[in-house]
Amino acid sequence: MRLNRRHFLTTTAAGIGALAMPGILRAAQGDTVRIGLITTLSGPGQLYGNYIKDGSEIAVERLNAAGGVNGSKIELVVRDDKNSPEGAVTAFRELTGDGIKLFAQGTFTANLLGTLPLLEEADVTMMMVGASALALTHEAYNPRAFRLGFSSPMCFGGYGNLMAQKHPEIEKWAMLRSDVTALADITNAFSNGLKAEKVKAGRTVEILDPVLVPYGGADFRNQISNIIGSGAPGLFNVLQGADAISYYKQARTFGLDQKFKVLCDSANEFAIAKAMGANTPASLWSWTGWYPAANKDNAVSDEVHKAYIKLRGDEYPNWYIGVSHDSILTIANAVQKAGSMEAAKLIPTIETEAPQGALGKIHFRKEDHGFAGDLTYIRFGRDDKNANGWSVFETAQLPGAEFLERATPGSKLN
């Protein structure tokens, strides 16, 4: 067959059209409740994005097994935000163009800040999964978005309060963090929580200036020596991720866990124990967004925990699993109760409803849509009797609403 110009152009155009067709035409909505999930599935944030995807898929599976929403099955449409605001905006616009009106999105603040201004134009409702940045419920507040996450004043203010209650005898605290604003917010919140409780109890507390370590650093020995020399019996560490693992490994050679009466880690929870095994510090407190064993009387938490073990074979799920599950559950519950997917009907429903989730009752403060659920803290450490080399010794829960920062929707929190 001789290929002439017309044949070539026609064939090429038809080929390109056939390939592109399913993706670019506006999809018709069937008899399903479609929820768009935008999260980070590539790049440095994909660890958390994968947890969010797993938790959301567990929620959809559970809800569909229970009959779906008003007889309709739930369909999760997952997109990668490529760890950038423009990736998140592309995914958001694509899904809204396909007619999706319900969204869950996490992990990074900047990616959420990229999509928040678009919610009104697209007339959608969004759950911000695990988001902690204050801006989301303050200066960048959007009435169509709900933050199912924990702000720093809430979870670390509560943390300081808990430590003041548990260890009233400790009157001097040292802190360790990198010179990063978000980590400074955490130490400030912890200090405020400590001080508030001490004042209430008529005691005083001395909080030393934080010892600063380089962000992404590898050698923390000088700073560890400084902390040990501080003479404080309490230590709050705010290093995160790989920095924290290196720090705890190096601290072990100094016998850090023998030098302090109370060791607190901000939010690394089981990542430390999983990485260090039998070398985990003897006793370490940490905040967590969800710990199934702390919710023994919560059937939803138990079911989600079992589903995750079945999915990944991991007995200690990251807290994002519970939070993302509850984000999808909150949306589904609201659609069921409101009998609609319209934002105008869903928003007041979410504001007033409090469905039972893995984290407990899921309810939001009406003024700024900040999550007002329970706070969970765990104490774990080295345990030679356990095959893992570590065990959880103690859990504590506090009512999160008591520690929520002041609501200032639309303006910055001063």
Partner: protein
């Protein structure tokens, strides 16, 4: 450019202009982004393909344009939007001139590449620490402006009007780049790229020409960044990260450095691959990387070079044209 390629170019332009009338808004957004980064890649290839200079820090100049626009719009200057584009372009040009003035005398090749990469990273880290510029979270909620042009008011905040504005602005930038590349200045740059000593011997002030090319390239990159800020409606320090600086290199390799249109073709091809594999979570990068690797290995002159070879084959010449090496003088 042969007649068939001209027809295709016109058809592509028509498809781009009519896209919002039938396509999903996600595809429209991605296309708008692609148009802007295609112009950005074109500015990079003005340096690489014409002047023979490789910069690995062009993302920094893109972010200078984007931040200039974002800050000025936040300060309420949306009424002077066209002037803001000029201002952002000048900002990129001035910074590029300053860098080029110092760097081009002392470094070329890999040294220039690493130096520009380091400067772009320095800028990104600095932006991430300035709270007035939103630090890590950047500047969100950037407005798409409404402004007056004397006899009429242009409202770019409604519907797809900003998309069409981007199309027109980028078409003008492509036209300007074409004019620069194909005029006496472009021809002199190509002479310098082919043999810098010979060009100098012939009386060409090679440093001055390269410095002007560096400045023009930086100005166009910043202009693309300025167009991008209201398009994405958010700028963060990562807008000028290493990935952004890699984009034009990737597009140029894919499309072909030896063609003026190569970076544009590469940009659209890359976006098409990314968009069509977006649902393949977890293996998307492997598929995209595999396709790119295959294209680069199979077509050393890029897609544009392969296209030219195909056209030459179809035009029933007695002998098919041989593929040109990657850094041959630019063909159209």
């Amino acid at each position: 450019m042969n007649r068939l390629s001209t027809y295709l170019l016109v058809a592509l332009a028509a498809i781009l202009l009519l896209l919002p009338l039938w396509a999903n808004s996600g595809l429209v957004f991605l296309t708008g982004t692609t148009i802007i980064v295609a112009v950005f890649a074109l500015s990079w290839n003005l340096l690489f393909g014409y002047a023979g200079l490789a910069s690995f820090g062009s993302g920094g100049l893109f972010s200078i344009g984007a931040y200039t626009m974002a800050v000025m719009l936040r300060q309420g200057y949306e009424g002077q939007f066209l002037l803001l584009i000029v201002l952002a372009t000048l900002a990129g040009g001035v910074v590029a001139f300053a860098i080029g003035f110092v760097a081009l005398r002392r470094s070329t090749g890999i040294f220039l590449a690493i130096l520009t990469l380091a400067l772009a990273e320095l800028l990104r880290i600095t932006l991430a620490k300035i709270h007035w510029l939103g630090a890590e979270d950047g500047i969100p909620s950037i407005v798409r402006p409404t402004f007056s042009i004397g006899f009429a008011t242009v409202d770019l905040s409604r519907g797809n009007s900003y998309y069409w504005f981007v199309c027109i602005a980028c078409a003008l930038l492509v036209g300007l780049t074409w004019w620069i590349a194909h005029g006496r200045f472009g021809r002199t740059l190509r002479t310098i790229r082919l043999d810098v000593e010979r060009a100098a011997f012939m009386g060409v002030d090679t440093h001055r020409y390269r410095l002007v090319a560096f400045t023009i390239s930086g100005a166009i990159a910043a202009c693309a960044g300025a167009l991008f800020a209201p398009w994405a409606q958010i700028v963060t320090p990562d807008i000028g990260n290493m990935m952004r600086s890699t984009q034009p290199i990737l597009f140029t390799l894919l499309g072909g450095a030896s063609s003026f249109w190569g970076p544009l073709i590469g940009a659209f091809l890359f976006s098409a691959i990314e968009f069509s594999t977006r649902t393949l979570v977890g293996i998307q990068e492997i598929i995209t990387g595999g396709i790119l690797l295959a294209v680069v290995l199979m077509f050393p002159t890029g897609v544009a070079g392969a296209w030219n070879a195909l056209i030459a084959g179809l035009s029933a010449r007695p002998e098919p044209a041989k593929a040109a090496p990657a850094l041959q003088p630019v063909k159209e």
